[in-house]
Symmetry: C2
Subunit: 335 residues, 2 copies
């Protein structure tokens, strides 16, 4: 292993000068710099990142805790976060929490161990009751809606308005008995609760009476459960002409389930999702959705985190609300 000392000796300078060259410090004579660079190259010198970390107290890596990277939504989120972090020269290590509360807390403690300079937590398992556990003294940004008045920075998205727009979109296209396939609602500050609120708002505005029997709650946001729920709905002969799904992943399952049950989309039932994942453009029929500008959410989350990393953890928690969203109309809601 070639060290700075080795380079210094070979170049006839002090290790400090090598350090200056490596870190692009300005006040180095051009000829010295050239000499050092030449030797570095010749000896194939590599900085030892661990040593630098120890000295500077930074690791250059942030953690990203998501339930599972193989779910399209989180995969696409991760890709965006990685890209955004790269702009700040930060690498991203991914922790899979499997949506479990314990694993989310584990991810927190890894940063506490100074493995990561900060953590972006796309939380699903933690709830308002865990607020205290988030009172940590290192940079954390929460992505999502579980904890509103937590002690850390937080990026929120237009859940209520988006859900309302999605439901209105169905109503405008003639739907009157609209099913909502939602997750488990615990409190009103989680995704499921907020999107349900948006759904009800839209109904109310159009004078449609809310029918609780049209809300189905699934355990996991998977294509699998979407499929099951759709088949069960058709079998139950409830009578419905529209479905608003809490996420696109679920909606893709619902499309599949309706096809299994021989229900035509969009002629007999219209379907809309939420997230606008890439896959939605390629289903048959293609899936209408709400696009909540995840790109921007990712950028916001990273920049909030970087601000904490650079500026210190102190200061009131900020909540950045990414409010822009758009309705993406595709075949599944055509008239």
């Amino acid at each position: 292993m070639v060290t700075m000392g080795d380079v210094a000796r070979a170049a006839g300078v002090s290790p400090m000068t090598v350090s200056h060259v490596v870190n692009d410090h300005p006040h180095v004579k051009e000829s010295t710099r050239a000499k050092v660079l030449e030797v570095m190259d010749r000896l194939d010198y590599r900085v030892n990142v661990a040593a630098r970390n120890l000295r500077t107290g930074r690791t250059g890596t942030i953690g990203l805790a998501v339930p599972e990277v193989d779910r399209p939504y989180f995969g696409q989120l991760a890709a965006r976060i990685i890209t955004a972090a790269a702009k700040y020269n930060l690498r991203v290590a991914i922790e899979q929490t499997g949506a479990s509360r314990e694993n989310e807390l584990d991810a927190l403690s890894l940063s506490r161990n100074r493995l990561y300079d900060g953590l972006i937590l796309s939380t699903v398992g933690l709830g308002p009751a865990d607020t205290d556990l988030l009172k940590v003294d290192y940079p954390v940004v929460i992505l999502g809606e579980r904890i509103f008045d937590g002690p850390v920075d937080h990026v929120a998205m237009p859940n209520v308005n988006g859900a309302c727009a999605a439901t209105s979109h169905l109503i405008e296209r003639g739907c009157r008995r609209i099913v909502m396939v939602d997750g488990q609602v615990s409190g009103e500050v989680d995704v499921s609760g907020l999107r349900l609120t948006g759904y009800r708002q839209a109904l109310e505005r159009s004078g449609i009476v809310f029918d609780p029997s049209l809300v189905v709650n699934i355990e996991k946001f998977t294509m699998q459960s979407g499929g099951e729920v759709a088949r069960a709905l058709v079998a139950s002969r409830k009578g419905f002409d529209g479905v608003f799904c809490v996420t696109d992943t679920v909606a893709i399952g619902v499309l599949r389930g309706l096809a299994d049950a021989g229900v035509r989309v969009p002629s007999r039932v219209k379907v809309i999702g939420f997230d606008n994942i890439d896959e939605g453009a390629f289903t048959v029929p293609s899936l209408s959705s709400i696009d909540p500008d995840h790109e921007r959410m990712a950028r916001t989350a990273v920049s909030l985190l970087v601000r904490r990393i650079e500026g210190g953890v102190a200061g009131k928690p900020r909540r950045e609300f990414v409010s822009k969203f758009s309705v993406v109309e595709r075949e599944s809601t055509h008239v």
Copy 2:
């Protein structure tokens, strides 16, 4: 920041003893251990991973370089690798290479900087010509088929046999003019080349003459290109009754493109993909595919890497061939 020294002082022992407790070394009196643990807990002590890294020369993190995590195949691969690595107490940092040769080389140099204990490289951009660049002195495992006789460990999958089985599957179901939607073939050792070989083998075995005009080469393995290619194929009036796609992602696009062109699947054209990604079970029609046991490939890759990390980089490169695969029949190839 609480250090080992702080804990030692508070517990009335030496830092060394604290270290022993932290690392679960055996020869520590039970009462001493208890005392130290109590103090650690009271002071909320956390090991400083950077310091440990510097001392031990290990980081506890491996790198995973993939083109993009938001493509279903790589997302699912990443999830499996992360899970497999967790069993060895290794974290996974993901580098997105965007399928570019330069970025793949960058990922290599990050490990060279001792940021990672080793690297799993799902390479797309590197080719046999880059063999020399892989002659590095730290643990690397290549996942995929680009470089056969490279200087590093390598996990291969049943590309030829799988592609042959997929094509035979179509032939058995009555297809005679089978399109292959393939990637760019450069050399014969990349995925596209190997799967093309399998395709031709199957044709030959059934006495079907290979028609080069039925092979279409796309730039990128995306749903997008799959869709475009399918629409173009129909427009060109080539006449075909089956399509074998180089990956499921492409196949999903092809299904969509055929739907756009009003071509019924499977009644008029049958379609099969490769990879068996989760989404394939939920398209309409659902997608038949080859399942190459990616689970096992991930486990194999991680365990090869761990062997190098623990056992040193020396020793002949191993090629682990994960050969088991299965044909998953779904609606897109029903008779």
